[in-house]
Symmetry: D2
Subunit: 339 residues, 4 copies
Amino acid sequence: MGVQNGSVWQFGTLAKGEKNLITDVPGVKVGHCTLQSGAVQTGVTAILPHGGNCFLEKCPAAAHVINGFGKSAGLVQVQELGTLETPIVLTNTLSVGTALTALVRHMLEGNPDIGTTTGTVNPVVMECNDGRLNDIRGLHVQETHVFAALDAAAEEFEEGAVGAGTGMCCYGHKGGIGSASRCVTLGEKTYTVGALVLSNFGALADLMIAGDPVGRRLAAEKEAPDRGSIIVILATDLPLSHRQLSRLARRAQNGIARTGTITGNGSGEIVLAFSTANCIPHYPAEHTLAVEILHEDYMDHAFRAAVEAVEESIVSSLLHAKTNEATEQKIRALSDSLK
Amino acid sequence: MGVQNGSVWQFGTLAKGEKNLITDVPGVKVGHCTLQSGAVQTGVTAILPHGGNCFLEKCPAAAHVINGFGKSAGLVQVQELGTLETPIVLTNTLSVGTALTALVRHMLEGNPDIGTTTGTVNPVVMECNDGRLNDIRGLHVQETHVFAALDAAAEEFEEGAVGAGTGMCCYGHKGGIGSASRCVTLGEKTYTVGALVLSNFGALADLMIAGDPVGRRLAAEKEAPDRGSIIVILATDLPLSHRQLSRLARRAQNGIARTGTITGNGSGEIVLAFSTANCIPHYPAEHTLAVEILHEDYMDHAFRAAVEAVEESIVSSLLHAKTNEATEQKIRALSDSLK
Amino acid sequence: MGVQNGSVWQFGTLAKGEKNLITDVPGVKVGHCTLQSGAVQTGVTAILPHGGNCFLEKCPAAAHVINGFGKSAGLVQVQELGTLETPIVLTNTLSVGTALTALVRHMLEGNPDIGTTTGTVNPVVMECNDGRLNDIRGLHVQETHVFAALDAAAEEFEEGAVGAGTGMCCYGHKGGIGSASRCVTLGEKTYTVGALVLSNFGALADLMIAGDPVGRRLAAEKEAPDRGSIIVILATDLPLSHRQLSRLARRAQNGIARTGTITGNGSGEIVLAFSTANCIPHYPAEHTLAVEILHEDYMDHAFRAAVEAVEESIVSSLLHAKTNEATEQKIRALSDSLK
Amino acid sequence: MGVQNGSVWQFGTLAKGEKNLITDVPGVKVGHCTLQSGAVQTGVTAILPHGGNCFLEKCPAAAHVINGFGKSAGLVQVQELGTLETPIVLTNTLSVGTALTALVRHMLEGNPDIGTTTGTVNPVVMECNDGRLNDIRGLHVQETHVFAALDAAAEEFEEGAVGAGTGMCCYGHKGGIGSASRCVTLGEKTYTVGALVLSNFGALADLMIAGDPVGRRLAAEKEAPDRGSIIVILATDLPLSHRQLSRLARRAQNGIARTGTITGNGSGEIVLAFSTANCIPHYPAEHTLAVEILHEDYMDHAFRAAVEAVEESIVSSLLHAKTNEATEQKIRALSDSLK
């Protein structure tokens, strides 16, 4: 976007993780599959919560809906059982079905007990509408693209207009994938809170970066309304319960709000938070599980980390999103064409 | 099942609709596509809320999760915006993705503006796990089956082991699709509340029919646990708001509980209620809409109708579910094999 | 009421606790203060979750609103923090304020740190409207009555028209306090789930007792509508998390529904569930707490226990509620007078 | 506080209401009763939604809990029935009981049918903990103070350390009552969205004013943690349904977040939004009501107004809160004394 990357913007006060990515949380991996060819500007991003079998070792998790103008799937069970049992797949709105089926196949392959000797599986797929830059009606995402994103998952990953972020717009510029992380030290232990966003929201005039209302200076008189959405993934190795992760997820709204948006009517803003501590076995050895849970008095550390990481992730998605003249023209044209 | 259909069971006191089906609500239609061949025992059921274009004329709607061990899709937006903008599709758990994609295609075909000049669309797909009788891992439901169910939608429809109900089990017997309706007279106007269930839950020992604990007499000593799920669709032409429909949806639990279940841990029990009154135009003519809303003092009539219709729908699904020796043996074998 | 106490009604299949009261859960105590004199027919009931200082040792807890036409206080914080930090006080609707103040004073007395060196305290007060039999406008409950109920708390306690139950009506008869308990054996350990209800709901014609529709036989042609409310307290020594207690609380609706009600518009039906296992210290010794949590696979045992105990508690409140000719006449008169 | 009032800070872009107060919404009135004497630094603020009888003409309303570490009362019924039927009373945390009883008495006086020929009433009382500056354990608020605040209600009212705001702290300075309003023009009609906050939250280092991180410059090295709470009241004459008001209420978090806070663990952040359009009669003339509802497409106007008004209300509470040397010392001392 038309602002400097080398700025001294400061997003909060906490120490950043080593890579300043969600993958600073040990075990978390991210992979992309990008579809970019003419009118096809879309893709898939997969977030793996840990290196093991997610179905056999479920992560404590919680979802939070800031504004439910969205079509994410799998959240009902996350809220009921408090666990995540598959990787999280991000894609465009109309490809959620394809991504669900692909994720089901992926899980069936790794777990012959699913649907036979045990129950089914709850795939989690989240989305934004990239229809402004992508031929979304073409349903171009195929199951193979989901497998490719899952296979590509690694600790290092690209930000910007890649994977599910390929066709996303944010604050009147190219948006997409952004990520950041923060460290939380309690006693002698240091934990990490990481965020990854799929940014596709905001009106340029509203854009604030680290308190600087850059949008006011950059915005044209006539502007497209605040449409689109944002998906936020929060990961941590702090030992948080479902309820605590639900509280953490709600802080994403503070991070989003710091970038200036009013959370518009049409914006699907949905958060999924998970912890890699205290994974729950699908097949329990005993009736009860011994777990370690953070005392509520220390939640503020996690909250601050989440707010800062989400704010920075959004800005990072803007700064990393490479664009070209064709895309820029298309984005500018939206101001006039969209009702 | 092994009980008499010609009984004098009485499910409440309200008058029944003409067909005693959800389609007694004017405009509502139901269609099935049944897949039944050897290990393939599954299908699709579609509920059309009205005869028009659901996207252009959205029905007030609300979802309620009784027990969220389920994979239904589309509920987040229903809760946020309070509207249903597609038919409701029911199928097996692992085919939700395919059904979503098919429903997207169906909506795209009828609405060239979706994904181009307007936003996207929120397909609603709900499910139960028919893996006890069906080769659910085979993902046998294809998009064409969804189109077939949509095309087959009519005021008259079959109950029992058809459509999405083909492979479902309920209280240790064959379950599936059941439906019933009740009349509500206010002043000089008569309204209808209709229910349709996809029943796939319950342990036989718990089964109660109109207060009669038949399950205790029928149940073997050793029985499969209360697994599976139930989806409840409530339709009405009463002018109810989203909030009121949400209240109505919560009464489904009373109707379900009357059949004896404890709402087991693994049961995805999810309700979707919609009204055909006060449909909301996608493209508004004015800033505001004139609507007529039921005064809260009269909600009890709707509540009683919903409780009675849900209870009878479940029993009806049991009574209509044709079975055969192979299926019966399979169900009986579950008592020993399931953990 | 006009039915036999010595019946062979069976409420489920699980073993009952020793006293068949909520106080079978070790540590739980219940106390009443009854105000009964002419038009004054009201009172206070206190439930103590354990014998220690509730503020310093908080119980994991969850609230669930079945129908929120009610004025209970303190639930917001229970849902956020997942803990109960005071006794629970039950009284009539318009005396919630007085009960709150009294409970605050009670807590301040035992905790000099509240409001000085630490934060405040979250008193939980729940209510039903006894205005049909009590001069509720007179605000007759005084703070001393709350202290008296707290002081009277014991393992043995009366059921029926006592304490907060003094002026309550249920299914067209005297209602009030009822209680029951069930045992849950997992491996070599036996746990208890106990219920206590304040019953003030239901239309006689709807009454079902253990599946027997006694209401249909007893009800007059013309009857008062289903008004009033029910409060349900669930206690257990099972090691359940806030999320699991929330799931447990939702099963109360099945128990209530088994007694025949449609959960009327005007019925405030609210559940509070707490566990005496894994109490959370107000002042933590470490950043994290070691806790033991039930694996989800075993929740069905707890669910069944809750459904059965709630159903029996309601019937028990009816059977224990002593009445007299004056009260009976007043109840009968309601059928004509109430709009 | 130590910043300039005469600044050119700009909180958004919408036109302000005439008084830039919540009372710009026609019919809304606000009254205070201030208790200020030595250690007693507390009070009561009442918000009257309209000039008529709130019980007979109920306002559509919705509550939203951002962070439920709070003791507000009355929210359960607001969420169920979607209406507000009393004035809203704000006071300190431990005086909620007294305020409830006073509000009950106030309503009983004006409505002889409550508790006799009709049901009871749902008083709404919201709170923050002023224990840092006030002897909160003394329970100094009396019922007469609540009546005084109700009686004092007017279109003009003071902001700052008055009424319920008397003893509140915000971002390390005096906080309390703040208010602002915004205009929304749709077609030829202009509506108003007004906000009133009771501010008692935030750590100084986090304070942002209109994007300016003033807190970073002002904060001492060692600072008290982000404790306390904020109550937000939103009023509008836009014809919004309960569901739409619930969406509006959620935007308060964006406004709050713009002032820099992370929404700390101990902060009770609760929003109540009501509309003065489409009031619901307690005694309906017909079974149905004719209402006019805003089309969802125009919600963004309301959202923007709410975000801006909440942000400015918080800053206004800071700017208006007169303080003195004693109070300042007390606030500074908190940094060292609080755990």
